[in-house]
Amino acid sequence: MSAMALRSLNLPGVGTKYEFETDKGDTVAIFFTKTGAVQMYTLQKGCRTPSAAEMSPVEARRLGNILTGAIIEADQESVEIAFSALADLRITIHTFFVTAAVVGKTIEDLQIRAKTGATVIAVCRHDRNIINPPPTFVFEEGDAALVIGESDQIKKFEREIMVN
């Protein structure tokens, strides 16, 4: 893999700029502005006028997830983190909207960890986050669960717990 020349630059009064040129000669520049907005510019090789998109921090993170190759379905998203120092440990964090199969049941009833190996680390309910829900935690309709595990464990969770 060739080393990609990524330049980062502090622009006084504006923010931070990251710029790099792809192997094919296109240029991508990202600006984190002081206003909080993130601007992304792409300049095709041989072109003079770049095209730009302005994103909120949330949108920028979304784009980041897409670019890192995480799966994004309608309203589910997933991030895979690779720890190269730990024998290439790859951990996936995935969000699921609970299905009828789990509503009204506790984490203990579902035997999530025993059956799949994955762990529910947070549940989002009515815009509030419940971190580390206890085994007695009862799922309700509309909950979004954040599940962590290896990608096989996540797939198992989706197959065996969410669909029943």
Binding site: G13, T27, Y41
Partner: protein, 377 residues
């Protein structure tokens, strides 16, 4: 008190409208002050409270500018920054001074008008680069560093203009002494400052406000310009945690600065004694002289007159610093001239910055067209 509340309410509406239309708000704050002040039957009048708010606005503007000037931030392309800065300074100071002097202003007045004429609005230039999505253009870097250069020149102007008739040696010795104290405080008290800024209670914001006001009044007591000292305070604090200071000073700056602009407008009197020819000439020259300096910068730095046009479009607007100079050192007549120049240039500037892309493309296709038609068949 009523004046202040009317002013704040009008500004709130203006801020909403200008943000919605994404045009600069500063000219409209001034116009509101003009229309509601002397010209508009005196609905707004300057009083002690508005005076105090305006002073705070100016002080926080300068403190903020100081925070942005981080000593360790030295441009990688120093020669380019220096070249563009010197072109910009010379062209605009010379044209501004010559114009003002020939139009009948005194030597000192011409110097103040020339300084206000020279210094572009950093706020408007940077906002326009971001809002018009021009950050990736190579001319943007030139514009951004030009603004830093102008800020540095402004500090020198403030020192020279406020020296007045004092003994220069004593004056600069006093300035150096205060600077030394500020740097020592920021250097040796760094950990203490950061521990204060990290707190969640009212302490960080209280500390920021008190530090700025104390510095201002202390330098007034010593007879050194408080404007310079609050900038120096900003630069000194920038060595600790500038982002935290920006965050805590921003609410003060935002509110007080708006009041500053409106009540500057109130002091402006276009009706009595204003010479429209002088005002018009200075305003038009202000747009034209940045075109000359922009084109020269474009040719020298980027080898392209079209780049110069882009630099011009983003630096036409004069704003907060020009007004600061008018308020600090200008006579009413100078103030009126600078007010008109700020209003004209900031409106022309915002328009040009928005449509500079179209202008450039138009010129390019026009010259191509000419080249094609000239080709012998």
């Amino acid at each position: 008190m009523e004046s202040l509340i009317v002013a704040l309410f009008v500004c709130l509406v203006l801020a909403l409208v200008t943000k919605y239309l994404s045009i600069p708000a500063i000219p409209f704050y001034i116009l509101a002050g003009v229309l509601l002040g002397k010209a508009g039957g005196g609905m707004l009048t300057n009083n002690e409270i508005s005076q105090f708010f305006s002073e705070m606005g100016l002080i926080f503007l300068l403190f903020f500018m100081g925070l942005g000037l981080k000593p360790e931030r030295i441009a990688s392309n120093r020669t380019a920054v220096l070249t563009s800065g010197i072109i910009d300074l010379n062209v605009n100071m010379i044209i501004g001074f010559a114009a003002a002097y020939l139009l009948g202003f005194s030597f000192t007045e011409s110097l103040i008008i020339a300084s206000a004429f020279y210094i572009s609005s950093t706020a408007m230039a940077l906002t326009s680069l971001i809002e018009n999505r021009k950050l990736m253009l190579r001319e943007s870097d030139t514009v951004i560093w030009l603004m830093v250069f102008e800020d540095l020149v402004l500090i020198i102007f403030l020192a020279l203009l406020s020296a007045g008739n004092q003994n220069l040696i004593i004056f600069f010795a006093k300035i150096l002494a205060v600077l030394g104290i500020l740097y020592a405080l920021a250097h040796y008290g760094k950990e203490f400052l950061i521990s204060i800024l990290d707190r969640d209670d009212e302490l960080p914001i209280l500390f920021t406000f008190a530090a700025v006001l104390t510095t201002a009044s202390f330098s007034m007591y010593l007879g050194v310009p408080e404007t310079m000292m609050v900038i120096a305070l900003g630069v000194a604090f920038a060595t600790t945690d500038p982002d935290a200071f920006e965050q805590h000073a921003r609410p003060f700056k935002d509110v007080f600065l708006v009041v500053f602009f409106v009540f500057f407008g109130v002091t402006v009197d276009f009706s009595g004694g204003a010479n429209w020819f002088v005002i018009g000439a200075i305003s038009i020259l202000a747009v034209a002289s940045k075109l000359i300096s922009g084109l020269l910068t474009g040719i020298f730095i980027h080898d392209s007159a079209l780049s110069g046009l882009e630099i011009w479009a983003n630096t036409i607007a004069r704003g907060e610093f020009s007004i600061a100079l008018a308020v600090l050192y200008g006579s009413p007549l100078v103030g009126t001239t600078i007010a008109a120049m700020v209003i004209v240039t900031s409106i022309v500037g915002s328009f040009m910055a928005k449509y500079s892309g179209i202008l450039r493309r138009g010129l390019v296709s026009h010259s191509r067209h000419k080249a094609l038609t000239r080709r012998p068949h």
